[in-house]
């Protein structure tokens, strides 16, 4: 079962490239043949020469990033992109969602869909499609949304996961909130699940946990790739009957996003530290899980500065607002590394963590793999469908609304065919999402 990745725009291409690199080096690192085979089958195919070729399609409206990615991959010596699996143009989308969605997307629809179809046909069995993009710019967000829409039409039965990179709150693109809002509102109807990484959070982790002084996009992408890899690499699941799961996207979606109003997924991983320190650290499952649980409850994405006061309400308490705890709809806990079967995960089964309408048995899923991931002897990741993204989403929509109220830059969108009516529709659907997550308690 294989996943076909569609890399869209500058950010999407860079993050996906990093993900393939991480996954490939992780799979080839140890001596675990089954794990390596499963991982390879999932993300790579073999070229006629027997080399690993990423199951990916690269799409951008500018050639620079794609060329860079292809060269880097080819020079890594471990894997490469398919020679003809990319599509680029000479002129970008100018950070305008409408330009990407209404102009570039439709114009290149056939070419892009043909590229994806070819890649899909090379899979023995398609586990799903993963579209990776940012929401701030024009190509990733606009073209990405349009492409996702086309994929949904062509592959109605396949699972489509969108990985989104949310911009810095004080980003460099003035209309980023418009672009984000339009992207999210559209994807919410198309995608099966939307996995989100916020640049701000990732940046903080890089600076505080990894002690990086001058944080580059490459550092950020590496961290995102690490977290994504820890989710997507092979694991033993409840449905996989002792072998590595063959349907990562399907099981991920089944575990976390069955309700059409709740599709936003966030990730936190522990431990995260400078690679130099890993060798000198010891980890214990109880400590890791205790921290991870508190990160989940207090809604902090790193183990530093966790609010230890936050606690889930006891069965007798009905009001959550006093305890300040995050409520999850569903969580997927993924443990990788040594002695994984001895790890005690009871703390995540606390009904207080979840909504009253799902039992903790239904809301919590557990994946395990005895293979250490990306050099960490033990690591734990939780993918959570919770209120964690409510605040940033609310911020984004509020800022976009304030701009929209003064009709700022609207004409830039209208001229490509996105009317004020379309804006209002998108606002409405995101307000619905916000309201749904607000009621999650």
């Amino acid at each position: 079962m294989s996943v076909v990745t569609v890399q869209l725009g500058q950010c999407g291409n860079q993050v996906a490239h990093q993900l393939f690199d991480t996954v490939c080096s992780d799979a080839q690192d140890g001596q675990r043949k089954t794990y390596c085979t499963a991982s390879t089958e999932r993300f790579f195919r073999r070229s006629s020469q027997g080399d690993l070729v990423a199951r990916a399609v690269l799409i951008d409206m500018e050639p620079k990033v794609i060329n860079h990615c292809m060269n880097e991959a080819a020079h890594s010596g471990r894997w490469s992109y398919g020679d003809t699996s990319h599509f680029s143009q000479k002129q970008g989308s100018g950070n305008n969602w409408a330009n990407g969605y209404c102009v570039h997307g439709p114009r290149h629809k056939e070419v892009v869909e043909e590229l994806v179809r070819r890649e899909v046909e090379r899979c023995d069995r398609l586990a799903g499609l993963m579209a990776m993009m940012s929401v701030a710019g024009g190509t990733g967000s606009g073209v990405g949304t349009f492409v996702t829409q086309g994929l949904r039409d062509i592959y109605p039965k396949s699972f489509i996961l969108n990985h989104l990179t949310w911009p810095y709150e004080t980003g460099e693109v003035i209309v980023q909130n418009y672009n984000s809002m339009l992207t999210l509102a559209h994807l919410y109807q198309l995608s099966d699940a939307i996995l989100v990484h916020e640049n701000d959070t990732v940046h903080r982790i890089c600076s505080q946990l990894l002690n990086i002084k001058h944080i580059s996009f490459s550092d950020i992408n590496k961290l995102i790739a690490h977290q994504l890899g820890s989710v997507l690499q092979p694991a033993l699941t409840a449905d996989s009957h002792g072998g590595y799961s063959r349907n990562p996207l399907g099981e991920l979606v089944c575990a976390l996003a069955c309700h059409p109003e709740y599709k936003l997924l966030s990730v936190c991983t522990i431990p995260q530290m400078p690679s130099a320190s890993i060798a000198y650290s010891t980890f214990s499952w109880p400590a890791l899980l205790k921290h991870l649980r508190q990160m989940l409850i207090s809604n902090s994405k790193m183990e530093e500065g966790i609010d230890w006061q936050a606690r889930p309400p006891a069965a007798s308490e009905r009001s959550r607002s006093l305890t300040g705890a995050n409520t999850s709809l569903a969580n997927l806990l993924i443990l990788r590394g040594k002695d994984v079967y001895s790890a005690e995960t009871g703390g995540f089964e606390d009904p207080g963590l979840y909504t009253p309408w799902l039992s903790s048995g239904e809301a919590l899923n557990l994946w395990k793999s005895p293979v250490p991931f990306n050099k960490y002897e033990k690591s734990a990741t939780v993918v959570s469908n919770s209120r964690a993204l409510l605040r940033p989403l609310d911020h984004m929509v509020r800022k976009a609304w304030n701009m929209f109220a003064s009709r700022a830059y609207i004409h830039q969108y209208v001229k490509f065919g996105i009317s004020e009516e379309d804006f209002l529709d998108s606002f409405t659907s995101l307000e619905q999402v916000i309201s749904s997550y607000s009621q999650l308690c």
């Binding site: 023995d124 398609l126 396949s158 699972f159 089944c254 996003a257 309408w357 799902l358």
Partner: protein, 398 residues
């Protein structure tokens, strides 16, 4: 005229042929020939009736309307017929012969013609029996079709329809949807692998297991071919169905015009014909030709003729006057009250006996015939006058 009539009858025969093929393809084994249908229209002999008895019985059994333990060998004709009558009764069909038979079984041969049975068949077809048979057959042929199981759709009253249960329900439905997609993709993969194995295994020595599966495949193939044939037959039938109903309409006409005297005897037994009447009025456009020749005695037409108005529009639908005898007391008297207004009858509408009604109708008929003759005469005169005016015109007889 003669030729077009002939071509129409050829067409009708073809259409009935299409119906027969469809019935046979639906799995019925005793389908009469198209010619038998034609003979039935004119109340063909007992062997025609026998074939229709058999057909009706099979249809009723196949569609589960009647149930008989030994369908192949019924104890006797009588038994057989009782079963058919009961089945037709259950489908909502009512006819004189169904009620009248109990009174005198010897009389049955006289009172019941194969046309009655043909009409009953028409009723069953119009009720959608054909589609039912078709569905059954398709399910037999295509085993991959999922038939909807009878599900208890009753929602428990104790179910709390609050937001919490609703959201839980939505979540579970979503979960099932995702599971379905996973299963579908697994089936797809399995099919692909099977295909690969089979296509790789075919050239080599055939093992017993692949022999078995190839036999299964062949069976499947035969089933699929039957299925295609069946659906094609249905399609052919659907395209010409209208012609059949027009023809059926002419059968109804034949039926309605013929036995006037017998009807008055049977009227008390006849209960509800409303449904049949509705059915008839819904049937596709009637044939005009045959009806024109038998509707001369209709009173309304008489009225119109007197007014010198065109009556063709009236002739398109079966008139009230002809359905009167099929109805219960009240509609009969209703009609008569209409007649009373028309012909100055002095009888009270509620106590109007059937014999007097018949008398009145006969009188009306005589009157109308007289009017018709008069009109005919007038027309002829008019025509001659017109011809007289046209100088140098020569008429050559055909």
């Amino acid at each position: 005229m003669q030729r077009s009539k002939a071509s129409v009858s050829v067409e009708v025969k073809q259409v009935i042929g299409a119906l027969c093929r469809l019935l046979a393809a639906s799995g019925l084994d005793s389908v009469p020939a198209p010619e038998t249908f034609r003979r039935a229209k004119f109340s063909g002999g007992p062997e025609v009736a026998g074939q229709f008895w058999k057909l009706l019985a099979t249809i009723l059994q196949r569609t589960g309307i009647v149930f008989s333990e030994d369908s192949s060998q019924l104890k006797g004709d009588l038994e057989h017929r009782k079963l058919v009558a009961a089945g037709l009764w259950q489908t909502g069909y009512r006819a004189d012969w169904m009620c009248g038979r109990e009174a005198g079984e010897d009389e049955e041969g006289k009172s019941l013609s194969s046309r009655d049975l043909l009409l009953a068949l028409g009723w069953l077809l119009a009720k959608g029996t054909l589609e039912k048979l078709l569905t059954q057959r398709v399910q037999q042929l295509d085993k991959t079709l999922l038939t909807s199981l009878p599900v208890n759709t009753q929602v428990s009253h104790e179910l709390q329809l609050d937001l919490t249960s609703l959201r839980r329900l939505q979540w579970l439905v979503g979960y099932l949807r995702h599971q379905r997609r996973i299963l579908l993709s697994m089936i797809e993969e399995r099919a692909q692998l099977l295909h690969a194995v089979l296509s790789a295994g075919l050239p080599s020595a055939v093992s017993s297991s692949s022999d078995y599966s190839s036999k299964a495949l062949q069976d499947d193939c035969v089933c699929m071919r039957h299925l295609c044939d069946l659906l094609e037959t249905y399609l052919n039938w659907k395209q010409v169905e209208k012609v059949f109903w027009t023809w059926m309409d002419s059968v109804v006409d034949c039926h309605l015009t013929e036995p006037v005297v017998k009807t008055s005897v049977h009227t008390p037994h006849v209960c509800h014909h409303q449904e049949l009447d509705d059915m008839l009025s819904r049937l596709p456009t009637a044939q005009k030709g045959p009806r024109r020749c038998r509707e001369d005695n209709e009173d309304r037409r008489g009225e119109r003729l007197q007014d010198g108005m065109d009556t063709s529009s009236l002739l398109c639908r079966p008139s009230q006057a002809y359905r009167v005898r099929l109805q219960v007391e009240r509609p009969v008297s209703d009609h008569i009250s209409t007649a009373k207004r028309l012909h100055d009858s002095t009888k009270a509408p509620d106590t109007f006996p059937a014999s007097q009604a018949a008398q009145l109708l006969l009188k009306t008929e005589a009157l109308l015939l007289e009017r018709r003759d008069r009109q005919r005469q007038a027309n002829r005169m008019q025509l001659q006058e017109m011809i007289g005016e046209l100088e140098g015109l020569v008429l050559i007889p055909p």
